[in-house]
Amino acid sequence: MSGDMELNDRFDKLYDGHRVALNAYCRRRVARDVVDDVMAEVFLSAWRRIDQIPGGAELPWLYGVARNVIANYRRSDTRRSRLGLRLVGERREPSGDASNVMADESLVLVALERLSEGDQELLRLRAWENLSSAEMGVVLGISASAVDMRLLRARRRLGGCLKRVASKDRAPGRRVAEEGLS
């Protein structure tokens, strides 16, 4: 097999093996009509660096590229309106009659959105992409131990935000003096 064919074959495997997962990654983070754009950029980048993608870590590598692509989009004010998180709009309905659960779930998402983008990404990668710490380290460019520590803090902050959100939910008249800090 020639060198070009090997690269083509590898790209095909990369694409076939991870397009669905990458599509899901993008759909969790950007509006659906932007997903194709982001994926295009990701696979373009993958094509260009096909010989640099680490074996065994292809998907986290793709997530890392996608993360940067999305970040680049977000940095552009003119594009911002197209990229809002679609979490609430695309949320799954809970099964069964569980209005309280639904309320709690809404609060979890509200709390999640109040976190920094870095914390949100950590939590999403673990909960939705189901990545290990080492894999998350590839996405984020940090060590697995750093992932563990940051994930711990992110979970705590999510818990704290959840409590605050829940507290406000229970006491709508309460005024949060430093709302901007949250």
């Binding site: 969790r28 260009r48 609060l107 939705w128 940090i142 979970r155 818990g159 409590k163």
Partner: protein
């Protein structure tokens, strides 16, 4: 809202794109991609990738990819990014990623040369328990600041100034110790510094306890289990350590060679916790700070509190006994109603205190003067009549602070917000009075001086705000201490800790550069490290420990 909800699981249930929800048929296949390559779709030249020209339904992403494939990587690079692709590169060195994903990060395993220390003075001198000396290589690694660094939460100082600090592997590309931990031992005022390796540990469940003047216990708790995952006995003088063996059978304290993992400072600085398995949480939360009149109406003013609070792992929260004769650690024999949610245990003059659940709900206390064989129930002041679970789980984590000396006992909520009242009993809890003063701040911390006086330290978040001290005979009579009483300024820029042996003020050090900081990751550059630790057992004489830092 359940405080113990597993947030990751909760988020998983809220996945907007759950597994299996994407129809693969909707995605272009590799074959389609190849087909498009053959067709050679027309793509307008782009000085820079313009997503607005690549919309779903009009020009799909895979066609763009195909076009680039046709044009060729070299041309594409020029057209799309003008050679500048930094923004699209994963923030990771490619050459490192293979190792970090496919292979566990290597950590030098502790290599020890067993030597039985039969010369060490102190309570363990006659112990048959073998303490092991770290190898020279291990000690060199543990004390190498390029590999391991100290943290605030995991340092303890004994009453005579011996200390142990647990050090985590640096979050640095230069450090090859992965999730490894090390310990360093030393003494205030200088002297020999020793160290050893503990291996890979969970930072969440790692705790450090002071046993006596020179011996400490490092313990990694196992969530949901009363038995710790691992526990080490560490000699702060020789640097030796030994792994403790867990026994399920509860025991009373009936030997000088048994020691209780005492309830120590329940705050963040470097104090450890009352619970064997617990964690500090630095989640900000909203605290009520007062009523404010606005437009004829009164609203509750709130503010964000950035301090840490204790997240209990109740299954393993009850006190444990270390027996150095056989190197075991086991549960303390306790009354049936001992509260795992509120293990406010503390020993003073041999007396052990523990939180209990009263019949019908509510918080109680019990004390034992015979090492846990028999217990006497005590009713707490009415103002503290919450259930122990409520106390442990409220946002503020209103754990009880307890200080005792014989029949004198003082109680306060650790983080009572606007309730900093100190309750004092002179008759072992039969009757209670409220102390004449309460400290400013949002936290209260109690400590008994060697001369029998009660010290009440108020804190504002992590920092000391005010010190009150009682007379020896009247704990309810509190007077404010000023700097001349302390022999040093009350350093409000330092964190502090009270661990049962004394009070420490810890000044931090921040790297003199912002990120990018050569040789340091962003996380490291943003975090401060301990610099100097001032420690005192009497709040008059202070010794200083200089911590290593860059």
């Amino acid at each position: 809202m359940n405080d113990h909800i597993d947030l990751i699981d909760a988020l998983r249930q809220l996945d907007p794109v759950p597994p299996g929800s994407i129809d693969e048929a909707q995605c272009a296949t590799a074959a389609q991609l190849r087909m498009s390559l053959c067709e050679g779709p027309v793509i307008v030249p782009m000085a820079r990738f313009d997503h607005r020209r690549v919309r779903s339904g009009s020009l799909s992403w895979w066609k763009v990819a195909a076009a680039i494939a046709v044009i060729g990587p070299g041309i594409a690079a020029v057209l799309l990014w003008g050679g500048d692709d930094d923004g699209l590169r994963p923030a990771v060195r490619i050459t490192d990623t293979v190792t970090s994903v496919s292979e566990p990060t290597s950590t030098t395993e502790p290599t020890t040369s067993p030597t039985i220390d039969d010369s060490a003075p102190g309570t363990l001198g006659a112990s048959l328990f073998a303490m092991l000396s770290p190898s020279t290589e291990e000690e060199a690694q543990a004390t190498d600041f390029d590999l391991y660094r100290d943290d605030f939460e995991l340092m303890q100082v004994s009453a005579v100034g011996n200390y142990v600090s647990l050090r985590s592997c640096r979050d640095s590309k230069f450090a090859t110790c992965g999730n490894g931990w090390a310990y360093v031992t030393g003494a205030a005022g200088g002297g020999e510094v020793h160290g050893g390796l503990l291996g890979e540990l969970s930072p969440v469940n790692l705790h450090l306890y002071l046993l006596d003047d020179r011996y400490f216990v490092a313990l990694e708790s196992a969530p949901g289990e009363e038995a710790p995952a691992t526990a080490w006995l560490i000699d702060a003088v020789s640097g030796q350590s030994g792994v403790l063996r867990w026994l399920d059978e509860p025991t009373a304290l009936d030997s000088a060679e048994q020691m209780l993992l005492l309830c120590q400072e329940s705050y963040n600085s470097f104090g450890t916790t009352c619970a064997v398995a617990a964690e500090w949480d630095d989640t900000p939360f909203v605290a009520e700070v007062g009523e404010v009149s606005s437009g004829g109406t009164t609203v509750t003013e709130t503010s964000l509190f950035e301090g840490q609070y204790l997240d209990m792992r109740t299954e393993a929260g009850l006190p444990k006994v270390v027996d150095v004769r056989d190197g075991t650690i086991r549960p303390l024999a306790m009354p049936d109603n001992a509260s795992a949610e509120l293990p406010v245990s503390q020993q003073a003059a041999g007396r052990i205190w523990i939180g209990t659940d009263l019949d019908g709900g509510g918080l109680g206390l019990a004390f034992s003067d015979d090492g846990g064989v028999t217990w006497t129930q005590v009713t707490v002041p009415e103002q503290l009549h919450a259930t122990s679970e409520e106390l442990a789980n409220v946002v503020h984590d209103d754990l009880l602070e307890i200080a005792a000396d014989g029949d004198r006992v003082a109680l306060a909520r650790s983080w009572g917000g606007d309730d900093n009242a100190v309750y004092v009993s002179e008759d072992a809890g039969k009757s209670w009075t409220t102390a004449t003063s309460e400290p400013n701040g949002n936290g209260v911390h109690l400590y008994v001086l060697a001369d029998g006086r009660l010290v009440v330290m108020g804190s504002m978040d992590a920092y000391p705000s005010e010190l009150l001290v009682s007379t020896r005979s009247q704990w309810a009579e509190l007077d404010k201490l000023d700097s001349s009483d302390l022999g040093r300024p009350l350093d409000r820029d330092s964190r502090f800790s009270v661990n049962g042996a004394g009070v420490a003020m810890i000044r931090s050090y921040s790297l003199p550069c912002d990120h990018p900081c050569p040789g340091y990751t962003q996380d490291e550059a943003e975090r401060s490290v301990p610099d100097t630790v001032a420690f005192s057992v009497d709040l008059t004489n202070w010794s200083t420990i200089q911590m290593p830092h860059p």
